[in-house]
Protein backbone atom coordinates (compact mmCIF):
# COMPACT_ATOMS: atom_id res chain seq x y z
CA UNK A 1 0.00 0.00 0.00
CA UNK A 2 1.05 3.52 -0.68
CA UNK A 3 -1.54 5.34 1.41
CA UNK A 4 -0.13 8.26 3.35
CA UNK A 5 0.74 6.36 6.51
CA UNK A 6 1.81 9.48 8.38
CA UNK A 7 -1.58 11.19 8.17
CA UNK A 8 -4.16 10.59 10.85
CA UNK A 9 -7.75 11.54 10.18
CA UNK A 10 -10.39 12.61 12.69
CA UNK A 11 -13.95 13.81 12.36
CA UNK A 12 -14.72 17.49 12.91
CA UNK A 13 -17.47 17.51 15.56
CA UNK A 14 -18.79 13.99 14.84
CA UNK A 15 -21.84 14.66 17.01
CA UNK A 16 -23.03 16.97 14.24
CA UNK A 17 -22.99 14.21 11.59
CA UNK A 18 -26.44 13.00 10.52
CA UNK A 19 -27.24 10.20 8.09
CA UNK A 20 -30.23 9.18 5.99
CA UNK A 21 -30.16 5.73 4.43
CA UNK A 22 -32.61 3.24 2.99
CA UNK A 23 -32.04 -0.52 2.78
CA UNK A 24 -32.84 -0.80 -0.91
CA UNK A 25 -30.56 2.04 -1.99
CA UNK A 26 -26.78 2.05 -2.28
CA UNK A 27 -26.15 5.74 -1.72
CA UNK A 28 -26.36 7.56 1.60
CA UNK A 29 -27.19 11.16 2.41
CA UNK A 30 -24.99 12.92 4.91
CA UNK A 31 -25.81 16.19 6.69
CA UNK A 32 -23.28 18.16 8.67
CA UNK A 33 -25.00 20.43 11.17
CA UNK A 34 -21.99 22.66 11.55
CA UNK A 35 -21.57 23.61 7.91
CA UNK A 36 -25.11 22.88 6.70
CA UNK A 37 -23.52 20.71 4.01
CA UNK A 38 -25.73 17.96 2.52
CA UNK A 39 -23.91 15.33 0.48
CA UNK A 40 -25.05 12.36 -1.55
CA UNK A 41 -22.37 9.76 -0.88
CA UNK A 42 -21.48 6.54 -2.63
CA UNK A 43 -20.77 3.51 -0.39
CA UNK A 44 -17.03 4.27 -0.30
CA UNK A 45 -17.51 7.85 0.88
CA UNK A 46 -20.05 6.80 3.48
CA UNK A 47 -17.79 4.04 4.79
CA UNK A 48 -14.81 6.37 5.11
CA UNK A 49 -16.75 9.05 6.97
CA UNK A 50 -18.44 6.58 9.32
CA UNK A 51 -15.19 4.83 10.12
CA UNK A 52 -13.40 8.07 10.92
CA UNK A 53 -16.42 9.20 12.89
CA UNK A 54 -16.05 6.18 15.19
CA UNK A 55 -12.30 6.64 15.81
CA UNK A 56 -9.28 8.68 14.75
CA UNK A 57 -7.40 6.58 12.24
CA UNK A 58 -4.32 6.71 10.03
CA UNK A 59 -4.87 6.79 6.31
CA UNK A 60 -2.91 3.56 5.88
CA UNK A 61 -5.02 1.68 8.42
CA UNK A 62 -8.19 3.15 6.93
CA UNK A 63 -7.18 1.94 3.47
CA UNK A 64 -6.52 -1.58 4.82
CA UNK A 65 -9.93 -1.70 6.47
CA UNK A 66 -11.61 -0.36 3.36
CA UNK A 67 -10.22 -3.02 1.02
CA UNK A 68 -11.25 -5.73 3.53
CA UNK A 69 -14.75 -4.28 3.96
CA UNK A 70 -15.48 -4.04 0.25
CA UNK A 71 -13.47 -7.18 -0.55
CA UNK A 72 -11.52 -5.38 -3.22
CA UNK A 73 -8.00 -5.89 -4.52
CA UNK A 74 -5.54 -3.24 -3.42
CA UNK A 75 -4.64 -1.04 -6.34
CA UNK A 76 -3.52 2.49 -6.97
CA UNK A 77 -6.93 3.51 -8.29
CA UNK A 78 -8.66 2.58 -5.05
CA UNK A 79 -6.01 4.20 -2.87
CA UNK A 80 -6.23 7.32 -4.96
CA UNK A 81 -10.04 7.35 -4.65
CA UNK A 82 -9.72 7.07 -0.87
CA UNK A 83 -7.18 9.86 -0.71
CA UNK A 84 -9.21 12.17 -2.95
CA UNK A 85 -12.36 11.51 -0.90
CA UNK A 86 -10.59 12.26 2.38
CA UNK A 87 -9.11 15.50 1.13
CA UNK A 88 -12.48 16.55 -0.30
CA UNK A 89 -14.11 15.96 3.08
CA UNK A 90 -11.30 17.91 4.70
CA UNK A 91 -11.88 20.87 2.37
CA UNK A 92 -15.57 20.84 3.28
CA UNK A 93 -14.65 21.05 6.95
CA UNK A 94 -15.92 17.59 7.83
CA UNK A 95 -12.54 16.02 8.64
CA UNK A 96 -9.29 17.15 10.19
CA UNK A 97 -5.97 15.58 9.33
CA UNK A 98 -2.85 15.49 11.44
CA UNK A 99 -1.27 17.42 8.56
CA UNK A 100 -3.81 20.23 8.93
CA UNK A 101 -3.64 20.53 12.73
Amino acid sequence: MTAESNITWKANFPDSFLWAEWEDEEASVFFHRGSGETLLLNPLGAYLLKTICSEDISEEKLAQRTVRYFDLPVDEELLSAISVSLHTFEQKGLLLSSASQ
Binding site: W22, E25, A27, V29, G36, T38
Partner: protein
Protein backbone atom coordinates in the same frame (compact mmCIF):
# COMPACT_ATOMS: atom_id res chain seq x y z
CA UNK B 1 -64.37 35.38 7.75
CA UNK B 2 -66.21 36.65 4.76
CA UNK B 3 -64.92 36.97 1.22
CA UNK B 4 -63.70 40.39 0.28
CA UNK B 5 -66.72 41.02 -1.92
CA UNK B 6 -65.96 44.71 -2.36
CA UNK B 7 -66.37 46.88 -5.39
CA UNK B 8 -63.11 47.92 -7.04
CA UNK B 9 -63.63 51.52 -5.89
CA UNK B 10 -63.88 50.41 -2.24
CA UNK B 11 -60.75 48.27 -2.62
CA UNK B 12 -58.87 51.26 -4.01
CA UNK B 13 -60.09 53.43 -1.12
CA UNK B 14 -58.94 50.89 1.48
CA UNK B 15 -55.58 50.49 -0.24
CA UNK B 16 -55.08 54.27 -0.15
CA UNK B 17 -56.13 54.69 3.48
CA UNK B 18 -55.52 52.23 6.34
CA UNK B 19 -54.79 49.25 4.13
CA UNK B 20 -56.67 46.31 2.69
CA UNK B 21 -56.40 43.34 5.06
CA UNK B 22 -56.61 39.88 3.56
CA UNK B 23 -56.23 36.33 4.83
CA UNK B 24 -53.94 34.57 2.35
CA UNK B 25 -53.57 30.96 3.45
CA UNK B 26 -52.18 31.04 7.01
CA UNK B 27 -50.99 34.65 6.66
CA UNK B 28 -52.76 37.90 7.46
CA UNK B 29 -51.57 40.54 5.03
CA UNK B 30 -52.15 44.27 5.06
CA UNK B 31 -51.53 46.04 1.77
CA UNK B 32 -51.44 49.78 1.19
CA UNK B 33 -50.98 51.37 -2.20
CA UNK B 34 -51.95 54.54 -4.02
CA UNK B 35 -51.34 52.93 -7.42
CA UNK B 36 -54.38 52.48 -9.62
CA UNK B 37 -53.07 49.37 -11.37
CA UNK B 38 -52.41 47.67 -8.01
CA UNK B 39 -56.00 48.32 -6.98
CA UNK B 40 -57.32 46.95 -10.27
CA UNK B 41 -55.27 43.79 -10.10
CA UNK B 42 -55.90 43.18 -6.40
CA UNK B 43 -59.62 43.41 -7.19
CA UNK B 44 -59.21 40.94 -10.05
CA UNK B 45 -56.95 38.40 -8.33
CA UNK B 46 -57.89 38.68 -4.67
CA UNK B 47 -61.62 39.36 -4.88
CA UNK B 48 -62.49 35.91 -3.47
CA UNK B 49 -60.11 36.04 -0.50
CA UNK B 50 -61.33 36.43 3.08
CA UNK B 51 -61.07 39.88 4.56
CA UNK B 52 -59.81 40.15 8.14
CA UNK B 53 -60.95 42.54 10.81
CA UNK B 54 -59.23 45.88 11.18
CA UNK B 55 -57.98 45.07 14.70
CA UNK B 56 -56.76 41.53 13.90
CA UNK B 57 -53.06 40.62 14.04
CA UNK B 58 -51.25 41.13 10.75
CA UNK B 59 -48.21 39.06 9.73
CA UNK B 60 -47.04 41.28 6.89
CA UNK B 61 -47.57 45.05 6.52
CA UNK B 62 -46.80 45.73 2.87
CA UNK B 63 -46.82 48.94 0.87
CA UNK B 64 -46.34 49.41 -2.85
CA UNK B 65 -46.07 53.00 -3.98
CA UNK B 66 -44.03 55.27 -6.16
CA UNK B 67 -40.62 56.08 -4.72
CA UNK B 68 -40.06 59.68 -3.70
CA UNK B 69 -38.59 62.11 -6.19
CA UNK B 70 -39.05 63.13 -9.79
CA UNK B 71 -39.23 59.53 -11.00
CA UNK B 72 -42.87 59.75 -10.00
CA UNK B 73 -43.40 61.89 -13.11
CA UNK B 74 -40.91 60.45 -15.59
CA UNK B 75 -41.18 56.71 -16.32
CA UNK B 76 -42.78 56.05 -12.94
CA UNK B 77 -41.56 53.23 -10.78
CA UNK B 78 -42.98 51.26 -7.89
CA UNK B 79 -41.21 50.21 -4.72
CA UNK B 80 -42.07 47.44 -2.27
CA UNK B 81 -41.79 47.93 1.47
CA UNK B 82 -42.34 45.45 4.29
CA UNK B 83 -42.77 46.90 7.78
CA UNK B 84 -41.12 50.04 6.41
CA UNK B 85 -38.10 48.09 5.12
CA UNK B 86 -37.37 48.26 1.38
CA UNK B 87 -35.55 45.05 0.44
CA UNK B 88 -35.66 45.53 -3.35
CA UNK B 89 -34.80 48.20 -5.88
CA UNK B 90 -37.74 49.96 -7.55
CA UNK B 91 -39.21 48.45 -10.71
CA UNK B 92 -41.23 50.03 -13.53
CA UNK B 93 -44.72 50.82 -12.26
CA UNK B 94 -46.38 48.38 -14.66
CA UNK B 95 -44.66 45.59 -12.67
CA UNK B 96 -46.21 46.74 -9.38
CA UNK B 97 -48.61 43.81 -8.98
CA UNK B 98 -45.96 41.25 -9.92
CA UNK B 99 -43.73 42.98 -7.39
CA UNK B 100 -46.38 42.44 -4.72
CA UNK B 101 -46.42 38.73 -5.53
CA UNK B 102 -42.62 38.42 -5.56
CA UNK B 103 -42.33 40.52 -2.41
CA UNK B 104 -44.91 38.45 -0.55
CA UNK B 105 -42.97 35.31 -1.53
CA UNK B 106 -39.91 36.92 0.02
CA UNK B 107 -41.81 37.85 3.22
CA UNK B 108 -43.01 34.27 3.66
CA UNK B 109 -39.69 32.62 2.77
CA UNK B 110 -37.65 34.80 5.11
CA UNK B 111 -39.89 34.75 8.17
CA UNK B 112 -42.09 31.64 8.29
CA UNK B 113 -39.69 29.14 9.78
CA UNK B 114 -42.44 27.20 11.53
CA UNK B 115 -42.57 25.47 8.12
CA UNK B 116 -39.97 23.83 5.94
CA UNK B 117 -40.48 25.99 2.85
CA UNK B 118 -39.67 24.30 -0.43
CA UNK B 119 -39.66 25.97 -3.83
CA UNK B 120 -42.45 23.92 -5.35
CA UNK B 121 -45.93 23.99 -6.76
CA UNK B 122 -48.45 21.94 -4.78
CA UNK B 123 -51.84 20.67 -5.90
CA UNK B 124 -54.20 18.17 -4.31
CA UNK B 125 -56.92 15.71 -5.22
CA UNK B 126 -58.82 13.21 -3.10
CA UNK B 127 -57.08 14.54 0.00
CA UNK B 128 -53.56 13.85 -1.30
CA UNK B 129 -51.11 16.56 -2.23
CA UNK B 130 -48.53 16.29 -4.97
CA UNK B 131 -45.41 18.38 -4.52
CA UNK B 132 -43.67 19.61 -7.69
CA UNK B 133 -40.25 20.96 -6.70
CA UNK B 134 -38.29 22.59 -9.45
CA UNK B 135 -35.86 25.19 -10.63
CA UNK B 136 -37.38 28.27 -12.31
CA UNK B 137 -38.21 27.33 -15.89
CA UNK B 138 -38.71 23.63 -15.17
CA UNK B 139 -42.37 23.93 -16.07
CA UNK B 140 -43.89 23.48 -12.63
CA UNK B 141 -46.17 26.53 -12.73
CA UNK B 142 -47.50 25.64 -16.19
CA UNK B 143 -48.24 22.10 -15.07
CA UNK B 144 -49.75 23.41 -11.84
CA UNK B 145 -52.00 25.83 -13.77
CA UNK B 146 -53.07 23.04 -16.11
CA UNK B 147 -53.92 20.69 -13.22
CA UNK B 148 -55.88 23.44 -11.49
CA UNK B 149 -57.74 24.09 -14.76
CA UNK B 150 -58.78 20.43 -14.68
CA UNK B 151 -60.22 20.59 -11.19
CA UNK B 152 -57.26 19.95 -8.88
CA UNK B 153 -57.05 22.04 -5.71
CA UNK B 154 -54.33 24.68 -5.71
CA UNK B 155 -52.24 24.75 -2.55
CA UNK B 156 -49.48 26.91 -4.02
CA UNK B 157 -47.69 27.46 -7.29
CA UNK B 158 -44.52 28.70 -5.63
CA UNK B 159 -43.84 27.20 -2.21
CA UNK B 160 -44.72 24.09 -0.25
CA UNK B 161 -45.28 24.96 3.43
CA UNK B 162 -44.42 21.67 5.13
CA UNK B 163 -45.08 21.11 8.84
CA UNK B 164 -41.93 19.55 10.36
CA UNK B 165 -44.15 17.74 12.86
CA UNK B 166 -46.70 15.79 10.86
CA UNK B 167 -45.51 16.69 7.32
CA UNK B 168 -48.90 18.16 6.44
CA UNK B 169 -48.92 20.92 3.86
CA UNK B 170 -50.58 24.21 4.64
CA UNK B 171 -52.24 25.75 1.58
CA UNK B 172 -51.29 29.25 0.54
CA UNK B 173 -53.18 29.53 -2.75
CA UNK B 174 -52.30 32.65 -4.67
CA UNK B 175 -52.28 33.82 -8.28
CA UNK B 176 -50.24 31.42 -10.43
CA UNK B 177 -47.23 33.07 -12.03
CA UNK B 178 -46.89 32.33 -15.75
CA UNK B 179 -43.91 33.27 -17.86
CA UNK B 180 -43.32 33.79 -21.56
CA UNK B 181 -44.70 30.95 -23.72
CA UNK B 182 -46.70 29.47 -20.86
CA UNK B 183 -49.02 32.51 -20.87
CA UNK B 184 -50.43 31.71 -24.32
CA UNK B 185 -50.42 27.99 -23.53
CA UNK B 186 -52.61 28.50 -20.47
CA UNK B 187 -54.91 30.96 -22.23
CA UNK B 188 -55.60 28.22 -24.77
CA UNK B 189 -55.66 25.35 -22.29
CA UNK B 190 -57.76 26.84 -19.51
CA UNK B 191 -60.15 29.75 -19.07
CA UNK B 192 -58.41 32.72 -20.64
CA UNK B 193 -60.54 35.16 -18.65
CA UNK B 194 -58.67 34.04 -15.52
CA UNK B 195 -55.31 35.19 -16.88
CA UNK B 196 -54.45 38.79 -16.10
CA UNK B 197 -52.66 41.27 -18.36
CA UNK B 198 -49.09 40.36 -19.37
CA UNK B 199 -46.23 42.59 -18.29
CA UNK B 200 -43.20 42.69 -20.56
CA UNK B 201 -39.51 43.25 -19.89
CA UNK B 202 -39.44 42.00 -16.33
CA UNK B 203 -36.40 40.22 -14.91
CA UNK B 204 -38.23 36.97 -15.75
CA UNK B 205 -39.28 38.04 -19.24
CA UNK B 206 -42.99 38.53 -19.91
CA UNK B 207 -45.10 37.54 -16.92
CA UNK B 208 -48.81 37.22 -16.25
CA UNK B 209 -50.78 35.71 -13.39
CA UNK B 210 -53.70 33.33 -13.38
CA UNK B 211 -56.47 33.72 -10.84
CA UNK B 212 -56.68 30.82 -8.37
CA UNK B 213 -59.94 28.85 -8.23
CA UNK B 214 -62.42 30.12 -5.64
CA UNK B 215 -62.75 26.59 -4.21
CA UNK B 216 -59.04 26.47 -3.47
CA UNK B 217 -59.32 29.71 -1.50
CA UNK B 218 -62.32 28.42 0.46
CA UNK B 219 -60.41 25.25 1.40
CA UNK B 220 -57.18 27.03 2.28
CA UNK B 221 -57.77 26.40 5.98
CA UNK B 222 -57.43 22.62 5.53
CA UNK B 223 -53.96 21.15 5.75
CA UNK B 224 -53.34 18.29 3.33
CA UNK B 225 -51.12 15.25 3.63
CA UNK B 226 -48.45 14.82 0.97
CA UNK B 227 -48.80 11.80 -1.30
CA UNK B 228 -46.18 12.11 -4.04
CA UNK B 229 -43.19 14.18 -5.09
CA UNK B 230 -42.79 14.86 -8.79
CA UNK B 231 -39.87 16.74 -10.33
CA UNK B 232 -41.24 18.13 -13.60
CA UNK B 233 -39.18 19.03 -16.64
CA UNK B 234 -40.72 20.49 -19.74
CA UNK B 235 -38.96 19.04 -22.75
CA UNK B 236 -40.17 19.86 -26.27
CA UNK B 237 -41.37 16.79 -28.16
CA UNK B 238 -40.88 14.48 -25.16
CA UNK B 239 -43.48 11.81 -24.52
CA UNK B 240 -44.81 12.09 -20.99
CA UNK B 241 -42.91 9.73 -18.78
CA UNK B 242 -42.67 9.15 -15.05
CA UNK B 243 -39.43 7.63 -13.75
CA UNK B 244 -38.91 6.65 -10.14
CA UNK B 245 -36.36 8.72 -8.23
CA UNK B 246 -34.32 7.14 -5.42
CA UNK B 247 -35.11 8.51 -1.98
CA UNK B 248 -31.51 9.57 -1.39
CA UNK B 249 -31.51 11.65 -4.57
CA UNK B 250 -34.96 13.06 -3.86
CA UNK B 251 -33.76 14.15 -0.41
CA UNK B 252 -30.80 16.06 -1.82
CA UNK B 253 -32.87 17.68 -4.58
CA UNK B 254 -35.57 18.84 -2.17
CA UNK B 255 -32.95 20.16 0.24
CA UNK B 256 -31.47 22.19 -2.62
CA UNK B 257 -34.90 23.63 -3.42
CA UNK B 258 -35.81 24.57 0.16
CA UNK B 259 -35.49 28.20 1.20
CA UNK B 260 -34.94 27.63 4.92
CA UNK B 261 -33.48 24.11 5.08
CA UNK B 262 -30.19 25.40 6.47
CA UNK B 263 -31.93 27.60 9.00
CA UNK B 264 -33.87 24.61 10.34
CA UNK B 265 -30.67 22.52 10.43
CA UNK B 266 -31.24 19.07 11.89
CA UNK B 267 -35.02 19.57 11.85
CA UNK B 268 -34.90 20.48 8.16
CA UNK B 269 -32.83 17.41 7.29
CA UNK B 270 -35.03 15.03 9.27
CA UNK B 271 -38.19 16.61 7.82
CA UNK B 272 -37.03 16.02 4.24
CA UNK B 273 -35.87 12.51 5.18
CA UNK B 274 -39.33 11.66 6.54
CA UNK B 275 -41.03 13.31 3.57
CA UNK B 276 -39.15 11.22 1.01
CA UNK B 277 -39.64 8.10 3.14
CA UNK B 278 -43.39 8.65 3.01
CA UNK B 279 -43.86 9.92 -0.54
CA UNK B 280 -42.70 8.10 -3.67
CA UNK B 281 -40.73 10.48 -5.90
CA UNK B 282 -40.67 10.66 -9.69
CA UNK B 283 -39.11 12.59 -12.52
CA UNK B 284 -41.71 13.71 -15.05
CA UNK B 285 -40.63 14.73 -18.53
CA UNK B 286 -43.46 16.19 -20.54
CA UNK B 287 -44.34 18.30 -23.52
CA UNK B 288 -48.11 17.76 -23.72
CA UNK B 289 -50.17 18.83 -20.73
CA UNK B 290 -53.00 16.34 -21.24
CA UNK B 291 -50.71 13.33 -21.31
CA UNK B 292 -48.73 14.63 -18.33
CA UNK B 293 -51.97 15.02 -16.38
CA UNK B 294 -53.01 11.50 -17.37
CA UNK B 295 -49.74 10.15 -15.92
CA UNK B 296 -50.31 12.06 -12.70
CA UNK B 297 -53.96 11.04 -12.45
CA UNK B 298 -52.92 7.41 -12.77
CA UNK B 299 -50.92 7.68 -9.54
CA UNK B 300 -54.00 8.39 -7.43
Amino acid sequence: MKPLDLKPGEIARLLRSNGLRLQIGPFAVSLRSRLRRVAEQIAFFYGDYPRIEADAFVDFHIQINNPAGLRHWVRPQAIFSFDGFKPFKPLPEDQAFAMFEWGLNWCIATTSHQFLITHAAVVAKNGQAIIFPGEPGAGKSTLCAALVSRGWQLLSDEMALIDPGDLSITPVPRPIGLKNESIAIMKNYGDETLVGPPVTDTIKGTVAHMRPPADSIVHADRDTRPGYIIFPTYSAAADSQLDKVEKTRALVRIAEQSFNYHILGREGFRTVERLVSRCPAFDLRYSQLDSAIAEIDALL
